[in-house]
């Protein structure tokens, strides 16, 4: 961990899991739609008043998300596919969002990853390394590796300007424990990061069409002195077909600093160097991912969404061939 080891956060992670589960599986409350639609008070038999809601009732949301990802081979700096290894990832993410006052919102999320790598030449073999790392097991033996990944803590501010919702945000990501990072089947990179960004969104007046734009910059813990910070641009547009059902399309572009596949190959010294041991943290990993998603609001409390995504363009990264997601959320 480059001498800067993140604090072990298993205790916090455990608390978050318990908190999320308890909130998610509380019994449904009785729904009284009249409150959210405005109250119909009988001032007199011939007069009825409909007041705008003073405050929306829901201040928080818990969500459980399952993602299924599959990759086959890797993409070079020119976008060509090489290698025959494939990975399967099952990720479950627990998330909690809560409004603090009228403008601020706190966010906590924690993913549990289960991943394996099969086929092809096993390039991530720690026994080949010149400097041995006993903390690094062989991850790419074809079996699943499981564990909690990085705890994400964030806060956002909800502003409003000329019909646009403006939401700057800050997010810190901290590894929950010292998980191994050397392998296609690693849980993650085991690096802390701090992300700054904003999102701008709008639902046009008297229209069910909405769209958004977002940008984030993540400061990531340096590896071997290399700057591996990353940028992300997000575009999204959608339509509310009914108050309960909506669909949207999204595009995410990711670009990072780091080291190209060609340089990694040159500096790996036949897969034996310390540089090779750290290369998973250093790769550029450029990508443009596009997808579609639909959401259904089951009732006042529960919502379900389905998403599918495709790698539209990628360089210096693994070739994402399959990406699906299902999310169940409960507002409270």
């Amino acid at each position: 961990m480059n001498g800067r080891k993140p604090r072990r956060l298993r205790g916090i992670a455990g608390s978050l899991v318990v908190m999320t589960m308890v909130a998610a599986f509380q019994p449904l409350r009785a729904s009284d739609g009249s409150e959210s639609l405005g109250q119909a008070d009988s001032v007199a038999p011939a007069i009825r008043t409909f007041e705008p809601p003073a405050h929306p009732r829901k201040r928080g949301r818990v969500a459980i998300t399952y993602q299924n990802l599959g990759t086959f081979g890797a993409l070079s700096g020119s976008g060509e596919v090489f290698g025959e290894h494939e990975t399967d990832t099952h990720a479950v993410r627990l998330a909690l969002d809560y409004m603090i006052g009228d403008r601020w919102e706190a966010h906590v999320s924690l993913p549990f990853i289960r991943k394996r790598s099969r086929g092809g030449f096993v390039a991530h073999d720690p026994r080949r390394l010149t400097v041995q790392h006993p903390e690094a097991p062989l991850l790419d033996a074809g079996t699943f590796n499981s564990g909690w990944q990085d705890l994400s803590l964030g806060v956002s501010y909800h502003g409003h300007w000329r019909g646009f919702a403006i939401t700057p945000h800050v997010t810190a990501s901290l590894p929950t424990h010292e998980y191994p990072h050397f392998g296609n089947a690693a849980l993650g990179q085991n690096l802390w990061s701090l992300g700054l960004g904003f999102d701008v969104s709008r639902q046009r007046d008297f229209s069910n069409f909405f769209y958004s734009f977002g940008y984030s910059y993540r400061f990531i813990e340096k590896t071997l002195g290399y700057n591996v910070n990353r940028q992300q641009i997000r575009l999204s547009g959608g339509y509310h077909f009914t108050p309960r059902f909506s669909a949207r399309a999204f595009v995410d572009a990711n670009k990072g600093r780091g080291v190209s596949s060609a340089d990694i190959g040159r500096l790996s010294l036949n897969l034996t160097s310390e540089f090779w041991y750290q290369h998973d943290r250093l790769t550029l990993r450029e990508s443009i991912i596009g997808g579609v998603s639909c959401s259904y609001q089951v009732n006042d409390d529960y919502a379900v969404s389905l998403s599918a995504a495709k790698l539209l363009r990628g360089k210096d990264r693994q070739d994402l061939r399959r990406a699906y997601e299902i999310q169940v959320s409960r507002s409270f």
Binding site: S34, S36, L37, G38, A40, A46, I47, R48, T49, F50, P52, P53, P56, Q67, L69, T89, A91, M99, D102, R103, E105, S109, P111, I113, K115, S117, Q149, G154, H158, H160, A165, T167, T171, S173, N184, L187, G188, Q189, S193, G195, D199, S201, Q203, D205, F206, G214, R218, Q232, R234, S236, H240, D252, D280, T283, S293, S295, Q297, S305, R317, L320
Partner: protein, 162 residues
Amino acid sequence: MNSNSNRNPLAVALLAGMLCLAHEPVVACGENQFSTGGGLRYQGFLAPRPATVVVVDDGPGDRDELYAGLAKAGHRVTVVANREGLATVLANGKVDVLIADLQDVDAMTSEAPSGTRVLPVVARKLRDAPETRDRFDLILLEGASLGQYLKSIDSLIGTVKR
């Protein structure tokens, strides 16, 4: 007119709440999660400038859902069944927009202070009648949707920016 031109900040916050910070993408040698962002929570339509609206409607309440939608968008809506009800409401405060059936408009506006904006509800067969078009710049057709109500109210109070 109601001078409160700002939307409820918490409503705006929740509008965007699902959109942001779904999570940061996490990557290893291969992506372990991908970012889908998030949907935009449905909030109905939001009125750019909330107003005080009085509707004359002696019906059995079958349009209450529409009136509730106006309220959810930010308007304060009072529904009166007759002229006496209107007089009671007018005695208690100012009205920005008065909505009434075309045949009732004259009787009802006689109760309202001068300058009250009137939005008549017109039967479809009378939509192009000269006496309708010459007299009113804006009308609502019978059976108009919530969106049409909101657009007409906003056009009438001159706040729709095009």
